[in-house]
Symmetry: C2
DNA sequence: TCCTTATCAATAATTATTCTAAATAAAATT
DNA sequence: AATTTTATTTAGAATAATTATTGATAAGGA
């Protein structure tokens, strides 16, 4: 993997990237830090932030923001949206259905140039919904 | 206007709300603070945060997050998306075209319950595009 | 009125993230 | 190879936005 721009693929960056590919569960910087630290105990949180920043700057990973919560990182480069569970905090990838495009979905200001398009869905994930139902039927 | 939940409509909350309605330009908490302070010099930033929080909790305003930038606040309660200019930082409301719905646009995990749906478009606003063009033709 | 609850403002604290500076390492050049 | 340049890492300090705490004040109900 080459990063371009004179950036090197260092051991730290490689580990950070590996960790993201191994568990595509949208970890936060701290999550990544803890996972990398197991295999590379000397690494610092600042380095993890640097690596995440470099990797996303180079387009190898995507930074995902959910409200004002800590940023999460995602190795899925295909265009997709995110579902965020308000109960357990899980972030799931959701596929955009075919034919859904920014320019089609919204009335853009005339003359605007679109760079990115983000779709976020908030709600309760299947697991939490199921639990909720069990709980409420129990209490009933 | 009633807030419910035993919350009162205090002078501070009223001013904060008024300011948002007067200029629907998605001000940040600090922007709101500066505007309210002109008419109510004793108010503190913390109180503005409290008011914004109470008002959005009660559903009178919407908190809009753009990446990790400071939250912005919006009095437009109709369902809409946001366009964010990467150059000048302006946030514009964009209408969702008719027939565009969360459930239609994305393949949701089976069993998930949707609460909210957010569309964010990033790019360059018409003004910045125009300026850019003028600049580049000048330099050419 | 008395009592409970809500509110405000100031300040302190928290959280996520970025910056700084010094040390290290790899690449480029001589 | 030695030197120079450039990129990188690290620890810790710094920052910015936001939240929590506290003590005083005020509103509403019994």
């Amino acid at each position: 993997m080459k990063l371009g721009d004179g950036h090197r693929m260092t051991p730290q960056r490689r580990e950070v990237y590996e960790v993201l590919m191994e568990h595509p569960d949208h970890p936060t910087a701290t999550d990544v830090f803890m996972r990398v630290k197991e295999r590379m105990p000397a690494i610092s949180l600042a380095t993890v932030y640097n690596c995440l920043d470099t990797l996303s700057g180079a387009g190898f990973i995507i930074q995902v923001n959910v409200d004002r919560e800590p940023s999460r990182y995602c190795g899925n480069l295909a265009p997709h949206g995110h579902f965020h569970c308000e109960k357990c905090g899980t972030v799931l990838d959701v596929q955009l259905k075919e034919g859904v495009q920014a320019s089609k979905a919204v009335k853009l200001p005339r003359g605007a140039v679109v760079e990115r398009f983000e779709v976020a869905v908030r709600g309760y994930c299947p697991q939490c919904v199921r639990k909720q139902k069990i709980e409420s039927s129990r209490s009933a």
